[in-house]
Point group: C2
Chain length 146, copies 2
Amino acid sequence: MLRRDYDTQVCSIARALEVVGERWSLLLVRDVVFGVHRFEDFVERLGITRSVLTARLERLVGEGVLERRPYQEHPVRHEYLLTEKGRQLWPVLIHLARWGDTHYPSPEGPPRAFLHTGCGGAPDGHLLCTRCGAPLDAANTTSHPR
Amino acid sequence: MLRRDYDTQVCSIARALEVVGERWSLLLVRDVVFGVHRFEDFVERLGITRSVLTARLERLVGEGVLERRPYQEHPVRHEYLLTEKGRQLWPVLIHLARWGDTHYPSPEGPPRAFLHTGCGGAPDGHLLCTRCGAPLDAANTTSHPR
DNA sequence: CGGGTGGGTTCGGTGAAGCGACTCGGTCAG
DNA sequence: CTGACCGAGTCGCTTCACCGAACCCACCCG
């Protein structure tokens, strides 16, 4: 996103957007939350160019949002996982999703939902479970298609 | 942000980002929340190009995130205000700001803070007031420099 | 040996963002 | 009446990020 960066801005939001505000970055984080971890799967799911994907993954790993970890040797293959820092972007994603659902609903209803593991409730506007009231985060929710 | 758009994606987050994911869009919304409403002030505060600013404002007004309203005649001058839809982006901004503060703290501390009007508490991770526990939103908080 | 797979790198073209200058309606000071 | 000024854009050129597609390489499998 940053042609010329936002460094004139002394603002937490601007600093956050310098890292995750580039095109594709938040969608990548979203996909990792959804359980997508491999290069080829990102290409296929997002329709992102390989070269841009390489750049974004490098950036996100460099910033400590994602972690690159080998999942096999011979040949060496890597997967990308969320770090704690990346996991803390979960509230941003949830609120973006809620906003999108509210104002640009898809005819079929929300295509994927984040639900409280076990209880099955959804996060409300304060990230509390609509069913049992527990505070939700990336750790105690799972994403379900349809 | 959208060279080629995210329409292959059936996802609330992608739909939201199609509207507010372009470079500058969220920073514009942030500034309107901060009380900046005029073209020249956006140019000065953000360092955004006039032509890009024109395009972004048109887009955001077209999507119903901002409202363009004359504040004087002779000559006619307009200001840009948040709609209810725009105000609902507040949680996204707050969580982005919290994430930025946590991971990229500025030496001086948060340069601006959103505080509960009257009480003076800040929003916690669940958008509740740290001081009195009240649920916070765009309406009952104000932004304070330093 | 020949094809397949995962994970990239390289490269030319395009369109969006950047930079600066110009415009236009109107007000105001002298 | 003239010239300076202001807010809010528009215009034209340049530059750089993104796209698409091809290519590469290590390794496996038959």
